[in-house]
Symmetry: C2
Subunit: 392 residues, 2 copies
């Protein structure tokens, strides 16, 4: 993996989660990095998000370190803000940087007090262990019900120099669009203004993290952070921005897709493609309504080409369209033409639906040019099993 | 069961569904009845709904008969409207009433052509079998994945005379508020204007069928019909309307609750009560967001008092509220006070959550007077099992 210059990483087990695998991670930029973030739109926001926002504001968007834990969301807790501050203070002291340049982040159970000393006790060891090649250790430490580590990277050549982007993310349930679903940390050695970084992050998120859904739920802790420390010596300008944006999109897109692939209990990745809607916004609404239909998701789990559920879910999106102009493809087989059953072999299609990836194409015939791509996964008994017993 | 005067019923097996149980029902009023209906708000509307609307308009709201089948939704079919018309014509001819006074209704799979002759062949036999005491036969014939017949009735004494209301309904999946979820037929021997009937039906639905959710999906065929034939000799006026409304509310409320109790795979009925929201509309939005959270529904399936998921789901409703003023009760145990974990015995509460009914009370402390009640059910592996194999 081609990692950006000027970052070091460390992870350890701090005893926050029950099973003894790393649950605390630290990402440090050797020099002050420009940073931007997107946060959950949930009305209930965890303490670390509130502290992270305040820190970004006080430091004017300068971040030197990310301190992240799994196993406890530090949300709806009496001591939440103080715990987040104390932990940042400990990291700041050890790293000799201002406390408001430390970005706190947490994921895990809600409503259980987080013991700050579990984290502060480990900070000296973490700082001592920092290393440029321990990126994946942090990527593993932030996982909760995830079954796989999720990382992505890309490089761009700009003016003969190489700029790198590397990202890590976690999340496999409580995944819903319209926010920085789950935790994600993307680091780059490019240099850019905060305004440019925010615009680029927003664009990347709009087509990746905001176009996936596992269960329609949205966490109180969702955060996606982008740090740019300039260590490559490349300052992004008008021309190079487009190249960088493309690379950033591919990193964010890959991370988001990995989340859906690892959706709780998911056996199949479902790609939903909408075309011919009045505009992109309408296309996304139709896609989301299909992606969140339990009836559709369970039909795919059962390899059942039940296209009536797709048409019905689209009809529930609130978007106006003429059902008699709709054609639906499942795995490149037309199952519905002009809103009516197409002629296809159900047995053959059932076999094709047993594959690990399923593509639904929903096309409205007409003048509309609105299209959208969206990712979701099937809904299986395993999802229920995981979530009926997550906490206990 | 106290059935309203002047109605007769019949049901038979017409071969529409695979298993040999009744799938065709007929409800006839001896005299023209005033009728009003609410229909699905899905953009995709099945043929029988389109025909039913047209008939209600042409007949100026007079209905003599309801012809209803299960096993095929007659939706997204090439011949849909013609099939519905032909079936109505057959019933009308046999009953010697205008065709536009026959109200068609269908439920079942989408996108499969419905063979009209299956129904028209059975119409003479159905008409011959009409009987005042076969109400429950029709109530059973309209069931699909339901495990139980769903009926309710009520009587009101008005001016020394008895007015009866009787209702039947079906539905156990694809249940979502904001419409006449599923099929429902309510008959009464009161006499009332169509305007009054529509107002009363709307009020009854707003607190019953529009306050339940099983899986957030909404069918293309949902219909709720209210017929009033005046056979009791009681004409509703200003004073008696309130009594009748109360009785109608109780019938609709009971039918809606039975749907949730029979939710696909459901083991538990969940009552959600919201208080202290800014207004009723906000309270309903919070309740609906909790009711539709898969994480919440699976937690209840697992008897897990995971109140963080309730707070988080409320936070996703789009309603503004201060999380630090929220108190949450589960089975009368306070689990969250002022947005923080309350002191309770998790073991004791887990036992209480094993009961077949679960009550969630979500109270926002403040000046708001908006409250709402909402019903849903837990989400179990059984839901997946049922819906991964419904069609095949």
């Amino acid at each position: 993996m081609n990692l950006p210059a000027g970052y070091r990483y460390a992870a350890t087990y701090a005893g926050i989660r029950k099973d003894a695998r790393d649950d605390l991670g630290l990402i440090v930029s050797d020099v002050p990095a420009a940073a931007v973030a997107v946060f959950t739109r949930n009305r209930v926001q965890a303490a670390p998000l509130r502290v992270a926002r305040a820190h970004l504001e006080k430091s004017r968007g300068v971040v030197r370190a990310v301190l992240v834990n799994a196993g406890n969301a530090n949300c709806a807790t009496r001591t939440g803000v103080i715990v987040a501050e104390v932990c940042c203070d400990a990291a700041a002291a050890q790293l000799d940087v201002p406390a408001d340049q430390v970005f706190p982040s947490s994921t895990g159970v809600i409503g259980v007090e987080l013991d700050a000393s579990l984290i502060t006790d480990k900070v000296p060891g973490l700082v001592g262990a920092l290393s440029a090649d321990r990126f994946e250790d942090v990527a593993r430490a932030i996982l909760t019900t995830d079954t796989r580590m999720k990382t992505a990277n890309a490089t761009v050549e700009i003016g003969g120099k190489v700029v790198s982007i590397a990202g890590m993310t976690k999340g496999s349930g409580m995944i819903h669009p319209n926010m920085a679903t789950t935790l994600g940390f993307i680091v780059t050695d490019a240099e850019a203004t905060r305004a440019d970084l925010q615009a680029m992050l927003n664009e990347a998120v709009s087509r990746s993290y905001n176009r996936i859904s596992v269960d329609g739920d949205t966490s109180t802790n969702d955060t996606l952070l982008l740090m740019a420390n300039g260590a490559s010596g490349v300052q992004l300008d008008g021309d190079s921005r487009a190249c960088f944006q493309q690379a950033l999109n591919s990193v964010a897109g890959s991370l988001a897709e990995q989340i859906v692939r690892d959706g709780e209990g998911a056996r199949k990745l479902i790609r939903i493609e909408i075309a011919g809607a009045a505009d992109e916004e309408s296309a996304v609404r139709i896609a989301r309504s299909i992606a969140n239909s339990l009836l559709f998701k369970t039909a795919i789990a059962g390899s059942d080409p039940n296209w009536g559920r797709i048409l019905s879910a689209a009809g529930n999106s609130g978007v106006e369209f003429d059902p008699s102009r709709v054609t639906i493809w499942l795995q490149d087989t037309a199952v519905c033409r002009d809103g009516l059953a197409a002629d296809f072999s159900e047995e053959e299609l059932k076999c094709k639906l047993d594959e690990p990836e399923c593509t639904v194409r929903f096309v409205i015939d007409g003048p509309g040019r609105g299209d959208a791509r969206f990712l979701t996964c099937d809904l299986t008994e395993k999802y229920i099993e995981i979530n009926a017993s997550y906490r206990t």
